[in-house]
Symmetry: C3
Subunit: 343 residues, 3 copies
Amino acid sequence: MFPLNQWYVAAFAWELQDKPIARTLLNRPLVLFRTRSGRAAALEDRCCHRSLPLSFGTIEQAGIRCGYHGLLFEPGGQCIEIPGQEKIPSKARVAAFQVVERNQIVWIWMGEQADSEASVQPPEVAAHDDPRYEFGGGVFHYQAPYQLIHDNLLDLSHLGYVHARTIGGNPKLHMSAPTRVEGDGDKLRVVRWLKASEPPATYSAAWPFKGLIDRWQEIDFHVTYLAIWTGAVDAATDALDNPDRGGFHMRGFHGITPETETTAHYFWTLASNTHPDRPGTSELVCRQTEATFEEDRLIIEAQHRNMCRFGGTHGIDIHVDAGPNRARRIIDRLTSRSKEAAA
Amino acid sequence: MFPLNQWYVAAFAWELQDKPIARTLLNRPLVLFRTRSGRAAALEDRCCHRSLPLSFGTIEQAGIRCGYHGLLFEPGGQCIEIPGQEKIPSKARVAAFQVVERNQIVWIWMGEQADSEASVQPPEVAAHDDPRYEFGGGVFHYQAPYQLIHDNLLDLSHLGYVHARTIGGNPKLHMSAPTRVEGDGDKLRVVRWLKASEPPATYSAAWPFKGLIDRWQEIDFHVTYLAIWTGAVDAATDALDNPDRGGFHMRGFHGITPETETTAHYFWTLASNTHPDRPGTSELVCRQTEATFEEDRLIIEAQHRNMCRFGGTHGIDIHVDAGPNRARRIIDRLTSRSKEAAA
Amino acid sequence: MFPLNQWYVAAFAWELQDKPIARTLLNRPLVLFRTRSGRAAALEDRCCHRSLPLSFGTIEQAGIRCGYHGLLFEPGGQCIEIPGQEKIPSKARVAAFQVVERNQIVWIWMGEQADSEASVQPPEVAAHDDPRYEFGGGVFHYQAPYQLIHDNLLDLSHLGYVHARTIGGNPKLHMSAPTRVEGDGDKLRVVRWLKASEPPATYSAAWPFKGLIDRWQEIDFHVTYLAIWTGAVDAATDALDNPDRGGFHMRGFHGITPETETTAHYFWTLASNTHPDRPGTSELVCRQTEATFEEDRLIIEAQHRNMCRFGGTHGIDIHVDAGPNRARRIIDRLTSRSKEAAA
């Protein structure tokens, strides 16, 4: 079970081209597609006749046509054509899910009730449409439960050990950076400052720092995604709580959507600003970030496999676990509420 | 459980060469082989000594010799030599199955009792030995239950959607063709006529049709195989129920033998006549047919996987399902009878 | 469950270089490593913090450091550093196992109690340090239970069927060779003589025999390994029970360590003497032996798969099974004792 009545990321807008996509979200096998008239849609990925995945079908103006016997379904899930048969039974339909596109993200509403509709808009991801930034992104599939990705992103102390080659920097400095954790309902903010530290490789490549730097990490945890604002200024040249501070900025978006109880989709984008003397670095930053996330995936999947073979015994906590543990309590509370609503 | 007291296809005659074949039929792991003296045989695929598959062994004049310690078994299942040991215990034997070759098909009797023998001959597949036809064939392994293949073959309305590139033709014409379903005991016949239709690609390649064609499809369902007679004449030049009608003829043989409850072997041959102006087309027809069956396999295996992940909910019926549903009732009835006999 | 309070082979000395090794022994996932100061160690392969395998970490002077958040563990299992945290909780530790290196083998003590220490030295493998021999070896992973490897090595009658191309020789001569089986507590010796037999391919390549040879096979079974002394002299030139006999000698070491109930590690070495006229043959002998063991693996894994699909029914015994069956009784007795001690 997962927190329901939430907007989850289903896809990036650019993924929905002329072919349907099969993707399981929160244990529901779905077909995601965009009709030829441009509307994004999410249906249960099974024809109601003989169970072929609709993702084996073809996209038309009005919807998606099954690849076995040609039944046609509109984005609301109703079958609107059975070739060779005049009458269409009312039960000739499949489950449909509400889908909204915003800032190039395709959000899906996973409600507590079937066919429920959201009363709120999906979140804004401003950096995707902010002229100061360029962004790129991708999708990782995880053979690990989604909350292990939360843990990883809420505890950036691992950077020094896992990402030494890119965004790491000095491991022990990371582990001893002052960390502030603030909660607000279903949200959580973790702020860490690393002052007067060596710029890691990616930072030096992207920005002409003069020497040591003051780094910040502001991690905003939401139930279905995290927004992570990181960056740095030359040491002692600006306040790290000045909202208009200069320097190098990276705006990370991390949509984390459970596939099943033990697997997950990780939709990430990275938007960064570019120094006038270093044109074209945002693509480099993006590629290095992707390499970093791949390093995380290897660690987290190994962690999950190991938890499975050791019977899931919980380990000891250390000082860096405050943020992750609070996020787990939020997810626990919302999941319980959704379970009750379902019962 | 499956219908027992039936002849099932175990192999094609040409598969039994100098190496034994490991093949599971109706949940029984078997070794199929032909002794050097030419006799086809089917034994339980396990040496009674230390359980090595006999299919790891070598074929001799008198039978098959185990590849671990050299025990020799004759086609009746009895061990007839234990190297280095004089006395052969009577329990040194493995289960054996009755096997008969006819028309280049190796049929195996799967009886309700162990060691039971058939009182009837295996079916005739006349087209394999008819000088008017040339034929070829092959074996597909299916990650899907055998009855999904029955469904597929008994409902040729899918041709337009699944096989557009070869034998398909106009999808909606297929879906609305008049269909006649006739039953007779454990047999079933489905007849469909598609008059004045466009010749599909394979037909045009194989036969010099003048324009539109009248097509027929006669599907004879038997418990362990289907015989499908399809073809076409130039439109309005011959009666489609004239047994001696001319035109292009294809005689399909489809031996469908369950491997397990969820997997199957599909033994197919396709025999076709050749127009004097188009020599050598039967090989082309055969290759295109094989491509067609591969398209079916992709669909059917996807259908099965999807039925599994959706918990096997049965879908709604449409007009094309009359034939498949009657065949399922025949299989249900015979399976129940075999279950009772076993109990 | 397995016989405990035994020295098992964990690795060869040369496997422990600058990277840790993940290896499961007797159902315990372990990390094996050698500290930079040269000490071999075996720890539970899981960080006590967030369960990453320690085998993903890095080796230091004092121990192994976790690759996620940098916790450092010494060879005794205690965490001795948590970066960024002063106090180290006493429960910050992982299970450790006693490890001793002897004759280039890394032995591990698998005791009935956690943290138990051995009161005996691990076995000597003299041929590894005997100037008359040169040796090589390797590790095979088996998808089969370890006792099937015992069976195979204690019954060399299979050589003629499985290893015809290398050390086989005449199959029926193998099967009818006089065999002597002697037991002594937890040990077992199987002795077979094949007099006046054709030299098999490997023997002819390694030694300039004049014609027929007298071969011996002395198999010493111990609970966790076998020592197999084989070889040959020119027929009727020496007594096969003369401890100082000449001819071609092969000293095989076979450490067989269960990985799980159904999988195993097979650590082998082969030491042979070299005839002055045939320099460099011990590498050839070693390579051919490795090919032989690969032949065994294929047979034994097929045997295991077949036992599984046939529900594990035990087969009939023949004359060659005396040795294997006695070894199984030893293992049964010791396993029962370890089960009782655990209960």
